[in-house]
Amino acid sequence: MLEVKNLKAYIDVDAGVVKAVDDVSFSIKAGETVGIVGESGSGKSVLALSLMQLNPKPPVFYPQGEILFEGQNLLTMKESELRKIRGNKISMIFQDPMSSLNPIFRIEKQLIEAIRTHQDLSRKDAERKAIELLTDVGIPDPERRMRDYPHQFSGGMRQRVMIAIALACRPKLLIADEPTTALDVTIQAQILELLASIQKKYGTAIIIITHDLGVVAKLADRVMVMYSGRIVEEGSTADIFYRTSMPYTWSLLRSMPNIGSAGNERLVPIQGQPPNLITPPKGCNFNPRCLFAGPECLEVDPVLAERGNGHLAACVLSQREFNERKRQLEAVEREGVRG
C-alpha cells in the first residue's frame, strides 16, 4: 500500500545540511501495525512528516527518493491533490493533543470539518457521524461532550478526540507520532488498547513512532529501528526482540529499565551521545558507541542485508559472529560482577 524508496530528507541549517532521513526504504502492507523506534534526533518524526508531506519546505528538502501511496508518488504530487489524501486516506495523530486541537472551536466543529472536507455529507449526517466516532473512541456521553472546548477535556480524552478526527474518513493508514508520550501510564494503557481495537475493527494500517520499546512490543507486528537518519534493523517484532542482529538494537534493549527483569540490577547504558547529523562519523554511524566496533566499522558503511525471513540488519557482523561476540562480552561482564 505504501512504499518508500531510497528517501532522503535533508534539513538546510546555518551550520550545514542535516541528514535527518538518509536513504530509507520500506513498505507497509494494508492492515499491519509497524513500529518505528528511535531516540530523539534519529529522524523518526521527520520521516513521519515526510509521509504526509508536512515538513516545511524550506528548510527541509528531498534530494532523492519516492513515496508511493497506492502507486502514486506523494513527492511529486500537487498540493491540491495531496489535500485529498491527507486526513482522508492517510491521517496522523501527534504527541501533544492540546496543541493539535484548535482551542477556540468546539470539538463538534473540528470533527465535522474533518468529516465534511472529504465526504459529501449534510450537516445533520456529519453530526451523526461525529457522535458515532466519539462513541467509537470511548468518550462517554458524546452528544454533550461534542459541545465542549478542548480545554474541558483531560489529556487522555483529548488524545481520543484526536484519534476520532483522524479516523473520520476511515483512513487506510494512520500515522501515530509518539501518541502516548505526554500521557500518564494508566491513560497510555487505555490509548494503546484503543489503537489495537481500532486496528482490529477497521483494518487500518498503523505506523506507530515511539522511543518506548514496550509500546512497540505491545502493538506492532513489525518493527523498524532508526539510528541517525537510517533504518539499522527491520523485522517482525519477535525478530527484533528475540533474534536481535544489530548492536544498536541490542544495546538499546539492554539499557531499558524493565519491570519484568529479576532484581534491581544495574542498567547497561550506551556510552556517548548520538552522532551529529551534519558530519556523521566515518563508516558505520554507530561505530563510536558500539561495543563490537572493529577497524572495518570505521571504513565500511553497512547497508541493510537480509538475515532470513524478511529480517534486515545493517551491520558488518554476520548473525553468527554477532551472537559469538555477544556471548563473550556477557561472559566477561558476569566475571566482572563477581570479581
Binding site: L213, G214, A217, A238
Partner: protein
Amino acid sequence: MSNRLLEIRDLKMYFPIEEGMFKKTTNYVKAVNGLSLTVNKGETLAIVGESGCGKSTLARTIIGLQKPTSGEILFEGKNILEFNHQEMHQLRRDIQMVFQDPFTSLNPRMKVGDIIAAPLKAYKTTKNVKHRVLELMELVGLKPEYYNRLPHEFSGGQRQRIGIARAIALEPKLIICDEPVSALDVSIQAQVINLFKDLQKELNLTYLFISHDLSVVKHIADKVAVMYLGKIMEMSENETFFQEACHPYSNALLSAIPLPDPEKEKTRERIVLKGDLPSPANPPAGCVFHTRCPFAQDSCRENTPPLEKRGEEHFVSCYFPVEHKPAEKARSVVN
C-alpha cells in the same frame, strides 16, 4: 530511631481556589492530603504517582518553598516548620534538589564552573572553590575542559550531570530528585540512573526520588511509595512491591507499563483502569481511589481505609487488597 533522616507526619498542603471580585475562597485543591512517611539514612525512597497526585508539591513543601496547611516535617528529629532563619539557612544546605528539566534549571548565562560553584560561594565552605568544582565535575563524569562552557553547549544528559554536581557540592544529607531522568532519552537515562547509584555508594547519600515511571524506580529505589490524590496508597520495600504489591492501584500501575518483551506482553494479565484522575479539589468520599477501582465495594465509598501494616515494612491503604496466591508467587519465582 537515630537512623531516621526525614519523617513526615500527617502532612496537608491545600491551595485555596479564589473566585469572584473579592477573591473569596470557595474551595481548596488538596494537593497533599494527610500523608506520612519516613526516609532512613542512606536509602532511596521512591514516590510514584501520576501527574496531579501531589508528588511535586510534596517535594516543594519539604524544601520549604511553601508552608504546609498542617502536619509535621521532622528532619533529623527536628520540626523544620518551626525553624528560625538561621536554622533554615542550614537546612537549605542539607537538603538539595535535582530538577526534571535540565534546560530550564540551569542559568543559560552562567558558565558550568560558576553554576557548580554557586552553592560553594554562598556557604563559603572552601577557600579553593575551583579545585572543589573540578573535583565535583570529575565525580559526575564531566571533563575538566567543560569548566568555561555554557549550558547550551551540552546535551540533556550532560546538563543533568551539571545539575547533579551542583546538588552534591555542599555534601547534603538528603537529595530530592523530581523526575530527574524523565526528560532524557533511553540510552542516556541509564547513564544518569547509574550515576545516581554510584554517587549514593560513594558519598552515602539519601534520595527522595520522585518519578512516574515504575521501571526506572525498580532500578534505583530501596523502598517504593505509591501516591494517589495526595495520599499514600501503598508503601513497601522494592522487592516486595514488584512481587506482591496488593493495592489495586499499584497493580494497575504495574500492569499499565508495556514490557519490552512481546511474548510476555501478549500473555500477561492486566488491570486497565477506567476514566481519569478525579479533581484534587473535589476528591471522592471514602477511599479516594474507589471511582476507578475495579474491586470497589460499598464500604469503600463510605469509609477511608487507613494505611495498615501488612508485612515487614509493607503498608497498604485498602479494604480489599489483591491477594497473591502462593502458587502464583511460586510460579513467578520459577520464571
